[in-house]
């Protein structure tokens, strides 16, 4: 009702106003007549004096309106009506925008969730990762994780520091849970006191592990993750106090952490206390990741200095055993290099994400230029209408506003559709995203992403709307009505805006294509690197861990592993089986230590650290790693504790020049131990992924005399089985694997069952992700660029039909005419290419770290891409140019 009375009142008001103004003019007219002016002249004069009646009326009406909103709504109504009337244009623009804004929103959501959002812990700014630097430990830098903390360091740091509120160390691992129908391997985090306090998230139910729970004699209480609690216990709150068999030991559940809680970036099922002995830890054992919460107001630099002071204290307080020099580590020059925890979690993925964001942003820019181009054409065809409106009294601002309302409406409607696109795109992105993308589970389309969508919609609307608005708002009345626009060819100036847009598009497309091609070439280079194993799709891998509580004797562990390998080898279709502590690219933290060689005495005090791996006989054969010289280990070597050494090829070459020369040389870990003979040299293996150089690797047999503790045996308890078979990955084969392992020991779960191909692809995931993103962006850019060129040339042709007609009538050659149009396209492309090449050369330096085996200025790419672009431009302009040449001069001239 209200709106109807309002409407009625408004109409009344408008009528009153008109009456007033009419009377005003009439009275003035009469006055002028009275002064002796002829009526016609008086009327004209009165009107002229009054000025623009429509404008005065409008301004008067606006006095009643809530600041201009109503007139904007009126504009909007008009705009929507006009958009409905040209569905082709509207759909094209909205689709372009929905995809462009949607893709940007999706990538932004990932960027936001991974990089921008703070970590999900209270006061996350005070959390630091306790990384250590050890520039004196030669060889350490070539390993993935750097120097980690040892148990003794944890005790020293946590007792004597002055800058931390709390700190702790932890290590991810796996545990076997038994007592249910099937044994299960779960993700466990083994941690010390201080870790939970540092992260500061209270448990959902129950309580945290307390200081007493970390006592090595009494470390039997555990906590569950929300996910495991739901999966295994159906979210039953009475789970507190229940016991669970973990690694064949009875443990008591005392608490459950809330949903989404992760330890730094580690998903886990159970949290177990690390029972470190506060009185008897060795100096070494650098295996733990440390985290700490700074006291309020403390900087990282201050905590660095604080802990640097504690390194000598650490060496004074602990020992590696009798007869060892605790101050030996001085040469390593261990120093704290603490980092914000977030930086540790996010890692170097931020660069990749920014590159993808930038790329998608450029595609958006190109899309906007295309839309701007479309709007320019539209505005051009409306030029008469706009001019008439200007003549009837529409102010310049009024016309600009209407054009902007149109583009903003397009932007916002496009943004609305974009949310749908982004939602789907995000699912796709997470699916194809790099497997090691941190904070993957936190990725969502949140309020910040939606604000981003809104801003992007508004800004793109203003951006592509401003170009035609500025150009046509001031359309000079005289120009339009004089007919110049209709009969003559377009002036230089009229095409300039559109030409500039095309040049910009070509340049941006070039940059994207160059980056896409560099990525493709990187990918091919990586594919062609020999990883050190062969035929990955036909290599099945799985992990088996034998807990101490199940089999305590080390020799028995190896026998068990051997028996499993034999059983697996007996499965039909299996040609070879071997096992190792870690297969390449698996991401398992390497064991590393020193090795001394008999004839290289110059470096015996502080030999570089080398990657160690423990392998079973037949492992190399199974993996397809070539034995370059010498021989493989045998089971007789293993059980006879006759530990030979096998070296990687590059390592052997660097020491003795050739693999063959290494055979028979001798080495040992520590002085005083017996020398071991080098029995074989194997092909280099890219242990840390194909993009990293293959490290020097020392292979030991699967069981050796323990170098760290006299009269004991060392054998890895967790090993990866490698199985060569054409049936790898098939359902039936997996069932047989389970059966084979179960027949040896029913309490052993199979974990990480995957083919070597999966491991290999996963290690390439970042590169392939970048590749896919850039390839999509590049092809979109190329397509949009071609459409842009086609649009400009074909519009030019349609505008110049008369001119073409005249030229033909005067005897111009058709081929010459075609060339004229193609040439103008090529000139634009040429300028764009030159700008693009310069921009690409600069920008590609930013991508350097993502490239492999290829220069950011790769000449092939920089020649091929411009050629492709020029060829595409020629084609895109040839089609409309041919139409120009087929113009019938008679038709063209008769049109007037």
């Amino acid at each position: 009702m209200n709106s109807i009375t309002q409407l009625f009142r408004r109409r009344q008001r408008d009528d009153d106003l008109s009456v007033s103004i009419q009377e005003h003019i009439a009275e003035r007219t009469e006055e002028l007549i009275a002064e002796g002016m002829p009526r016609a002249q008086a009327e004209q004069s009165a009107r002229r004096e009054f000025g623009n009646v429509a404008l005065v009326e409008q301004k008067s009406r606006e006095a009643w309106q809530w600041p201009a909103l109503e007139s904007i709504l009126a504009d909007l109504k008009f705009v929507l009506r006009r958009l409905r009337k040209s569905p082709g244009f509207t759909v094209t623009v909205l689709l372009t925008l929905a995809i462009g804004i949607g893709a940007n929103t999706a990538v932004f959501s990932v960027l936001n969730s991974v990089i921008l959002k703070p970590l999900p812990y209270p006061e996350p700014d005070r959390l630091v990762s306790l990384n250590l630097d050890a520039p004196g430990a030669e060889g350490l830098a070539s390993f993935e994780s750097g120097l980690r903390l040892s148990g003794s360091m944890y005790f020293t740091f946590s007792e004597h520091n002055r800058t931390f509120q709390s700190l702790g160390v932890w290590r991810p691992g796996t545990s076997n849970v038994t007592g249910f129908a099937q044994p299960e391997e779960v993700h466990a985090v083994n941690m010390t006191d201080g870790v939970l306090e540092t992260l500061g998230v209270p448990p959902l139910i129950g309580r945290w592990l307390s200081a007493a729970d970390y006592d090595p004699k009494n470390a039997n209480n555990i906590m569950l993750s929300y996910g495991y609690w739901e999966r295994r216990f159906g979210g039953d709150r009475s789970v507190i106090g229940r016991s669970l068999m973990v690694d064949s030991r009875q443990r008591t559940i005392i608490g459950v952490m809330p949903r989404g809680y992760r330890l730094v970036d580690q998903e886990f099922d159970i949290l177990t206390p690390m029972g470190l002995d506060p009185h008897n830890e060795p100096l070494a054992g650098f295996a733990y990741q440390g985290i700490g919460r700074l006291k309020p107001g403390v900087t990282i630099a201050r905590s660095d200095a604080d802990v640097a002071r504690l390194i000598p204290v650490w060496m004074d307080s602990w020992t590696n055993g009798p007869g060892t020099n605790p101050h030996w580590y001085k040469v390593w020059r261990i120093a704290p290099a603490f980092r914000p925890l977030k930086q540790e979690v996010v890692g170097d993925v931020s660069k990749l994400l920014w590159v993808v964001m930038g790329t998608i942003g450029v595609v958006m820019l190109i899309a906007c230029t295309n839309v701007a181009n479309l709007l320019l054409v539209r505005a051009e065809s409306r030029q008469q209408e706009l001019a008439i409106r200007a003549a009837l009294g529409a102010g310049r601002a009024r016309i600009v506003r209407e054009l902007l309302v149109e583009s903003l409406a397009l932007g916002l409607i496009g943004g609305l559709f974009a949310i749908v696109v982004a939602h789907e795109g995000l699912r796709l992105l997470v699916a194809i995203g790099p497997a090691d993308l941190p904070r993957l589970t936190e990725i969502s389309l949140d309020a910040r992403s939606l604000i981003f969508t809104l801003l992007l919609s508004v800004f793109s609307g203003l951006f592509f709307g401003a170009i035609p608005a500025l150009k046509y708002a001031g359309a000079r009345v005289r120009n339009v009505f004089s007919g110049a626009a209709r009969t003559a060819s377009a002036g230089r100036d009229r095409q300039r805006a559109r030409k500039t847009l095309v040049v910009a598009q070509v340049a941006m497309a070039l940059v994207l294509l160059v980056s896409a091609v560099l990525m493709i070439r990187t990918f091919w280079r990586l594919r062609n690197v020999d990883p050190g194993f062969s035929d990955a799709p036909h290599l099945q891998t799985l992990r088996i861990s034998v807990p101490d509580s199940l089999v305590s004797d080390q020799v028995a562990v190896t026998h068990l592993q051997n028996a499993i390998a034999d059983k697996l080898g007996a499965i039909p279709g299996v040609t070879s089986v071997g096992f190792t502590e870690a297969v390449p690219m698996e991401g398992i933290d390497p064991m590393w230590d020193e090795i001394r060689f008999e004839d290289k005495s110059d470096n015996h005090d502080h030999p570089p650290l080398r990657l160690f791996n423990y392998v079973s006989p037949n492992y190399f054969h199974t993996m397809g790693t070539r034995i370059v010289a010498g021989r493989d280990f045998t089971w007789t070597d293993v059980y006879g504790l006759r530990p030979g050494i096998i070296l990687s090829e590059g390592f052997a070459r660097s020491l003795w020049g050739s693999p063959a020369a290494a055979i028979g040389k001798r080495g040992r870990q520590f002085t005083g131990m017996p020398w071991q003979e080098i029995v074989g040299v194997v092909q280099d293996v890219h242990h840390n992924g194909v993009s990293a150089d293959p490290p020097a690797i020392v292979y030991w047999p699967a069981m050796i005399a323990n170098p760290y503790m006299k009269n004991t045996i060392h054998a890895p308890r967790s090993v990866t089985m490698a199985i060569r078979t054409s049936r790898a990955g098939t359902e039936s084969f997996l069932a047989e694997l389970q059966q084979a392992v179960g027949s040896v020991n029913a309490s052993l779960p199979l974990a990480s069952v995957r083919t070597m191909q999966e491991i290999y692809s996963k290690s390439m995931a970042r590169t392939s992700f970048t590749l896919v993103m850039l390839a999509i962006a590049g092809s979109m850019a190329l397509l949009l660029g071609i459409i842009g060129i086609y649009g400009v040339i074909s519009y030019a042709v349609s505008q110049r039909t008369r001119e073409i007609g005249i030229r033909l009538a005067l005897g111009a050659q058709k081929s010459g005419l075609k060339w004229m149009f193609v040439r103008s396209a090529l000139v634009l492309t040429g300028i764009g290419v030159v700008i693009g090449v310069c921009a690409a050369a600069g920008l590609m330096q930013l991508m350097k770290s993502l490239l492999f085996g290829i220069s950011p200025l790769d000449p092939f790419t920089y020649i091929a891409i411009p050629l492709v672009l020029v060829a595409s431009a020629a084609l895109a302009s040839y089609l409309p140019a041919r139409r120009a040449a087929s113009v019938d001069p008679v038709e063209a001239l008769r049109a007037e």
Partner: protein, 114 residues
Amino acid sequence: MAKDSDRRDLFPGALELMILQSLRLRPMHGYALVKHIQQVSGDLLQVEEGSLYPALQRLLRERLLESEAGTSAKGRPTRIYRVTDAGLRHLEQEVSSFEKMFAGITRVLAVAKT
């Protein structure tokens, strides 16, 4: 409509002030209002129609004026504008604040001259 070079723009609110003051003397229609201000100011001030009608509408909206149907001097229908009580109060306030301001300006100018 050409502006004389020595004629200044009015300051904000001045037009409304003059409209209210003029209509206080007697209710008038638009054209009469223009004529009235022109005559009273001895042709020093000329009200532009482009500002007058929006200003009238603003005053109507603020309920400082009301309008009614009436006839012009020539007997044709038009709207007659009349000051409301609120309009009178507003006028008093505005006049007094205007006078203060004017006195202030005058004093400053006087000092500057000596």
